[in-house]
């Protein structure tokens, strides 16, 4: 179905790599797997197209460094970051650096395929109409909710947000849930994406 588009998987865990290959091949994608960022960069990347799924924490070169390197080499490959650490701050950094999405391990097939679809649709330019929509949603937030949103998309954990705003982590949870609802964000990645689109416009 997508002859020219290949999904490149870079993960230092062999079982995660192998299982992703099996699953994505069942979903009719071409898949190539690499055990490290270094091995991936050593491959022939000439005219590469598709999307890259990369683990954020790896020895030698991590996901963020790989993103940097791709940027340096002017290889425009949409990146989906995956993490087993629940490293929200790192994931937010990855998205700021241009990652299309991030997924916390273990993730559902549906979430993964959706992220891949988004990656393939990925265009660097943001749709102005959509930005207006997001802006309107942002207007609907209360002052406190906006503070919570700002801190969350900066990569702060709930506990850090609670400390900065001097409220309980439980209250942060509630605010956060309201923010997600009002912003129509299904995941934290959605939220970060929206915040970034506003900042960039």
């Amino acid at each position: 179905m997508t002859q020219n588009l290949t999904i490149y998987v870079v993960d230092d865990d062999q079982d995660v790599r192998d299982s992703l290959k099996v699953l994505l091949e069942f979903a009719d994608y071409n898949v190539r797997i690499f055990e490290s960022a270094v091995k991936f960069l050593a491959a022939d990347l000439h005219g590469i197209a598709g999307c890259l799924i990369v683990d954020i924490r790896m020895p030698d070169m991590d996901g963020l460094e790989l993103q940097d390197e791709l940027l340096k080499r002017e290889i425009d490959l949409p990146v989906i970051v995956i993490t087993g650490h629940g490293d929200v701050p790192l994931a937010v950094r990855a998205m700021r650096a241009g990652a299309v999405d991030f997924l916390e391990k273990p993730f559902r097939e549906e979430a993964l395929l959706e992220a891949i679809q988004r990656a393939f649709r990925h265009t660097p330019r943001r749709n102005a109409a959509k930005t207006d929509e997001v802006r309107a949603r942002l207007e609907a937030l209360t002052e406190r909710e906006r503070e919570v949103l700002n801190l969350v998309v900066e990569g702060q954990t709930n506990k850090e947000v609670a400390r900065v705003l001097d409220i309980s982590p439980r209250t942060v949870d509630i605010h956060r849930a309201h923010v997600m609802e009002k912003m129509h964000a299904k995941t934290l990645a959605d939220l970060v994406r929206m915040a970034l689109s506003i900042q960039r416009s």
Binding site: V16, R57, G84, K105
Partner: protein
């Protein structure tokens, strides 16, 4: 004519006087009835009483209860049984000053005879400072232990979550692939799809439990302040030495004075240093040359601390995974030490690495950014 010695010029009285009153330690002499006969200048400084207030009176006035009331009984018992409890040796006791405050002191007592009368000679030194130092080390150790446990728990949960999430991810992927395949099986496949969907849900549930566990085991909030790294290193060595005093290891401390301050959580940084110092000491056990060198210095915009040992170095297969969790060369180690240390260093914007590794020993280095509080230490 040969020069005369002091003992030959001075009369015995003058020499005795000089001896007693220039002594740094308190010296007193009591008779059989515990009455103070000699009370030197050092005693005045220790107890706050002048000689006129003490001479001729019972020495028990210099002791807090219960010794104050029991002292006459101790002497009586000794005179009756001849069994010494303190005489001829020394022990730590408590003294009481004129203002009623007490202090720990080391007292040694000897027995003698002057003019047919039995006397007891007591030599007293104040050990408050030594005690305060011991107590401080104990407090530091307690604090360190607590932080170590908390950090270890946070780190364990995080490492465990990661280790378990990997197979869960693979499991979820394979199950999803099987579910996809089952969809092609028509009617019998529908049931299989349903079963595999349930398996997917259960795997997700396991992932959720792991996530909650990690959130529950809260990592300790760092408590940072501007610190003099040399002071932190000295404290860490005092802590690291506890329990290793008798291994015959030579300690060399080379600190560069006047280093800029670093903005750190002191206890956490000490945790790293204590770990390095202990690892180094253990690495040298059984070696002839056991020398541990700790140095500090400025390296660009970082303060750098190096810990070197004269052990046999680390094997290659360990070096590549040295900072991974659950890697250890120790029989009873958990392999969390260096992994935690590196996490702490990185959380401070610093680095921790193996700087050199030969068969003659290893050097670990910790660097910490000076940051925005680069004021030199006064």
């Amino acid at each position: 004519m040969p020069e005369l010695g002091i003992a030959q010029i001075a009369n015995a009285d003058a020499l005795f006087h000089a001896l007693i009153h220039t002594a740094i330690d308190g010296i007193m002499v009591i008779d059989e009835k515990a009455r103070v006969q000699v009370y030197n200048s050092a005693c005045e400084r220790l107890f706050g009483y002048g000689p006129n207030e003490v001479l001729g009176r019972n020495v028990d006035m210099l002791m807090p209860e219960p010794y104050h009331s029991e002292h006459d009984g101790y002497i009586a018992r000794y005179l009756k049984t001849g069994k010494p409890h303190i005489i001829g040796m020394g022990r730590e006791v408590v003294g009481q000053r004129k203002d009623g405050s007490t202090f720990p002191m080391y007292l040694s007592v000897g027995e003698g005879e002057v003019g047919g009368k039995r006397i007891f000679v007591g030599i007293v030194s104040d050990i408050s400072e030594q005690r305060a130092r011991d107590k401080r080390i104990q407090e530091l150790q307690g604090e360190l232990l607590h932080v170590t446990r908390m950090t270890a728990m946070g780190e364990m949960a995080s490492a465990l979550a990661h280790e378990i999430n990997q197979p869960l991810t693979a499991l979820l992927n394979y199950t999803s692939a099987a579910r996809r395949m089952a969809k092609n099986f028509g009617e019998p496949g529908a049931k299989l799809v349903d079963i595999l969907e349930r398996a997917v849900e259960q795997t997700e549930r396991a992932g959720l439990i792991i996530r909650r566990l990690r959130n529950f085991i809260e990592k300790r909030e760092p408590d940072r302040s501007a610190e003099d790294i040399n002071k932190v290193v000295e404290d860490a060595i005092a802590l690291g030495m506890a329990g290793f005093r008798d291994t015959g290891t030579k300690w060399i401390l080379k600190v560069e004075p006047g280093l800029p301050q670093v903005f750190i959580d002191k206890v956490q940084i000490q945790q790293i240093l204590v770990n390095l110092v202990r690892n180094a000491t253990e690495a040298m056990s059984g070696r002839n040359k056991r020398q541990l060198t700790i140095s500090t210095g400025l390296e660009g915009s970082d303060v750098e601390i190096a810990v070197s040992d004269t052990g046999t170095g680390l094997p290659d297969d360990v070096v590549s995974r040295l900072f991974h969790p659950f890697v250890t060369t120790k029989e009873r180690g958990m392999g969390m030490g260096l992994s935690i240390c590196r996490t702490i260093a990185e959380a401070h914007g610093g680095r921790l690495w193996l700087a050199s590794n030969t068969s003659e020993g290893a050097t670990f280095k910790l660097s910490l950014p000076i940051g925005n509080v680069g004021e030199p230490v006064k």
